[in-house]
Amino acid sequence: MEFDWDPDDAKYRTEIRQFIRENLPSGWRGYGKGEVDEYKSESGRFARAMAERGWLTQSWPVEYGGSDASGWRQAIISEELWSIGEPRGPQYMNVNWIGPAIMEYGTPEQKSYHLKRISSGDVFWCQGFSEPDAGSDLASLRCRAVHEGDNYVVTGTKIWTSHVGLADFCFLLVRTDPEGPKHHGISVLLVPMGTPGIEVRHIGNFVEEQALHELIFDGAKVPTSCRLGDENEGWMVVRRALAFERVGAAHHQRALVSLDRIVEYAEKTGLISDPEIQTCIGEAYAACEAARVLYYRVVDLREKGNPPSPDANISRLSGTGCLRVVAELGHLVFGAEGLCEGSGGDDIRRVQTSSVAAGTREVQLDQIALRYLNLPKLR
């Protein structure tokens, strides 16, 4: 058993940090995501700069322009970038699982068209998954795609979609067969966002202004050549793409960045001398380190070729959990001043999203109970 980074990876981290300092202003705290065009151009610039260094899709196979870099390198990228506010912007999704899904299930035309653009940092995607009546029960989705000649005609509504304002393509889940079991009638369409018949409605919210939208498809015609994988096999495509995402977001590092700021504030106000606050800080720090070791454990399992397992659910719960612990401490320490935008003290408003999106806390707990503890399903 070894718990330290090997020297090559440690050196790589130093290079990434240097790159970050060269490409972002000191004290960078994230893009002003309210300004969609600025977000698109600034994050695109960073992603392209990474692509030029060969770092954007380095974990991809060599045949698709990557260098087969290890999951450990991806973990370093996630730790260094996610923790400071993800300067790659929404393109991190392309790299992590949209590209890999196209590699696995795409036609030669889809691969040659999309993968080059993704690996140059030149394209933005959004996800069309959830619907008003299909959230945790995603398989019950109803957005319909019907054959008409060489096209699908798409009708339905997607909700909670992020990054719609800047997206060039939508990774869309549709129902192509309404008869039969719900998991078996789903297909994936790679939809150009300029297609007529797609309406975007922004949903005002207090977590991140540009994060939530409705996507309304009203008879949009999407060529059948945009389908990824076989018709009615979309559920498998998505499950594999998400399950095989080798490395998730390094929430522990994000939480530790926040914790550092909380401590700085506590030092400024003198609250650091309060022994209760010292206890809370230590517990929060330990929670982040717990999330770290569980995250690394999953990377280790994947690197050794193990198939996806509930260890990923365990890791995710721990990661989103430590974000919460730190946000709640910030809530105590920052006080009223921290309610102001940009103070760094209002994470408590935003942290709730991580235990809701991409598989709620309850879904993670179910998976652990059923597949790790082998507890019986209640029928």
């Binding site: 990434i16 300092r21 960078w28 590092q253 230590g282 690394y296 365990i314 109970a369 503890l373």
Partner: protein, 320 residues
């Protein structure tokens, strides 16, 4: 980075687990703890297999010892594994096959194995006193005949001990933390596994109680905590009980294992309160381990001190 145990570590883990399972050490523990007694036979078996020499043994190390300590905790063995096989050698610089007990201050606060050990290490503020223990130096403590046998030193007992010297206190504190985290990892895992098995078997309302989602979610939460406890303990051992890592491991173990205690007993109902049913072998030990060396508050504050309040420049978490 490599989370997989190497062959040697797997052998140690399997051998210890098998030894305790074959002997049904947790059942032996139930009988012994009622008399404040110690599993001498298990102790001698472990000595015979060389396990008490692992921490300092050629080609072995602290991680191997931590694995052994965790597995002994998991198997419910009533032996002073952490103190004898991990803390003592790392503090003193020499292995022992004796039964060691660990105390703080003058040994007046109740501590584990006081009546069974032949050596006590007493942690003072800036020194460690080593004292050969005999029964007349120890007062028994009644603690419900569960968990661990406890005792306390009589006043001035330590006057007869040796002082180990200046850096021994720091070493003892750190390695005691690693040992605690490892013991808690084993005991918590034992309690959790026992509870999972129980809720799979126990039926009410025509179904296993483990099929109810509320039960499942609690146990899933505990699984996350128990897993992280174990890895943090091993990491701290790997890092030579570095002050921050040791404090973090002990803090996390002592902060989260109360949940294991509470929910294990909650899901067992009255059956879990009996002496005959073995749950107390793991859960009641958690209570003792959680209070040792100042408990979660002391470990948490030490983690904060090490990470945020020490003199050296703080290493940044991020690039900007």
């Amino acid at each position: 980075m490599d989370f997989a145990p190497d062959d040697q570590q797997r052998q140690i883990s399997d051998a210890v687990e098998r030894l305790l399972a074959d002997r049904e050490s947790y059942k032996v523990a139930i009988k012994l703890v009622e008399r404040d007694a110690y599993d001498e036979e298990l102790h001698q078996e472990l000595v015979g297999l060389g396990f008490f020499g692992i921490a300092l043994g050629e080609g072995f190390g602290a991680v191997d010892a931590a694995i052994m300590v965790e597995r002994i905790g998991y198997g419910g063995g009533l032996v002073s594994a952490g103190a004898s096989a991990l803390v003592y050698p790392m503090v003193v610089g020499d292995s022992t096959t004796e039964t060691v007990a660990l105390a703080t201050g003058d040994g007046i606060l109740p501590f584990r194995f006081a009546r069974n050990a032949s050596i006590v290490l007493a942690l003072q503020d800036s020194d460690v006193i080593r004292l050969p223990l005999t029964p007349e130096l120890v007062e028994p403590v009644a603690n419900g005949r569960v968990g661990y046998p406890l005792g306390r030193l009589k006043p001035d007992a330590l006057a007869q001990g040796d002082r180990l010297g200046s850096d021994s206190a720091d070493k003892m504190r750190r390695w005691w933390r690693v040992s605690l985290a490892s013991e808690i990892a084993g005991a918590a895992r034992g309690a959790l596994d026992r509870t999972v098995r129980y809720v799979q078997e126990r039926e009410q309302f025509n179904r296993p109680i483990g099929s109810f989602q509320a039960v499942q979610h609690q146990l899933a939460n505990l699984t996350v905590q128990v897993e992280a406890t174990r890895w943090l303990a091993y990491r701290a051992a790997f890092r030579g009980a570095a002050p921050l890592d040791a404090a973090v491991a002990a803090c996390y173990a002592t902060t989260t294992s109360p949940n294991v205690y509470r929910e294990s007993h909650q899901f067992h109902g009255a059956m879990g309160f009996t002496r005959e049913y073995p749950l107390h072998v793991w859960t009641m030990r958690l209570l003792v381990l959680q209070r040792e060396l100042g408990g979660c508050i002391a470990h948490a504050r030490e983690a904060t001190r090490q990470r945020y309040m020490s003199e050296r420049p703080r290493s940044p978490v991020a690039a900007v």
